[in-house]
Amino acid sequence: MVGLRLRRPGRQPDLVARLSAQELDPLIHVPARLRIVATLAALPEGDAVSFPRLQDMIGLTPGNLITHLRKLEEAGYIDTEKTGNGSASRTSVALTRAGRSAFEMYTEALRGLLGGL
């Protein structure tokens, strides 16, 4: 999301941290998952990205990425689809409508939070 900028950086850091816990989706408000969701949201709606490409774009280890993807999948924010068998298997990951909507709400909440300080 381009354009998220602080109006008055450096003010009331404790208040910001407290508000964040209440207003921002805790499933997304984590560095690794925020990067995953933001990257998936950059894809056109209806598109999926393969696991290796996503890993390459985000720069997480496979284990870290799997762990975070599971959490997002359990919340219904992403869909994973596995095709093929054995070494030819391929997993693709896509943001669900609920995931996209949660991401939009997250960015709105973040914008409101930072704009209001």
Partner: protein
């Protein structure tokens, strides 16, 4: 989900510690820009290269026909430069596209296949019209000189301009229109 051997790596539940909203905004901005750049099919540098291609290819054609009396059309060498630069640009576009769409599947990849077919038809029509010109009795200088030099930019440029305009990609649409206009001016000049 892939069953890698690294699945048991310890990952903190918060995935990287407490995240200040300011840091979140910065991370979000950075990640989005990076993802958009990696997925971009039309990076700005490609437009710069396209402009150079038009300049070099049509510069060569212009130099070859300058002061021709009587007009005999572009030289084979100039046509060679034109098609070599177009081919090189085609390869560059293919590399950029391949890198951008690597690992991406879904609706947009189906749409891209349709676009590729449409552009293949546009290119084919260039040579269908050339055959029609030949059969209609056009001179060699026209059918095999000026036409193959100008038609790719006019016909394929029009298709590209319409396609980019439909996507509201005005920079590329404007560029395609400008290239097409330059080609038409050169053709009538």
């Amino acid at each position: 989900m892939p069953t890698h051997n690294h699945t048991h790596e310890a990952v903190p539940d918060n995935g990287g510690g407490e995240l200040d909203p300011r840091d979140a905004a910065a991370l979000l901005d950075q990640t989005t820009r990076r993802a958009e750049r990696q997925l971009d099919l039309h990076p700005p540098v490609l437009m710069l290269v396209a402009a150079l291609v038009v300049l070099i290819a049509y510069g060569a054609i212009w130099l070859s026909v300058r002061n021709q009396h009587p007009y005999t059309g572009p030289t084979l060498g100039a046509l060679g430069v034109l098609y070599a630069t177009l081919a090189a640009f085609g390869v560059l576009v293919a590399v950029v596209t391949r890198r951008a769409i690597s690992g991406v599947s879904g609706r947009s990849s189906q749409r891209r296949r349709g676009e590729a077919i449409a552009f293949a038809v546009a290119w084919t029509s260039v040579y269908v019209f050339q055959g029609a010109l030949h059969h209609a009795g056009a001179s060699h200088a026209i059918a095999y000189g000026i036409y193959p030099a100008a038609a790719p930019l006019i016909i394929v440029g029009s298709a590209a301009a319409a396609y980019e305009a439909a996507k509201e990609n005005w920079e590329w649409s404007g560029f395609a229109c400008a290239a097409r206009a330059a080609s038409r001016i050169w053709l009538h000049g």
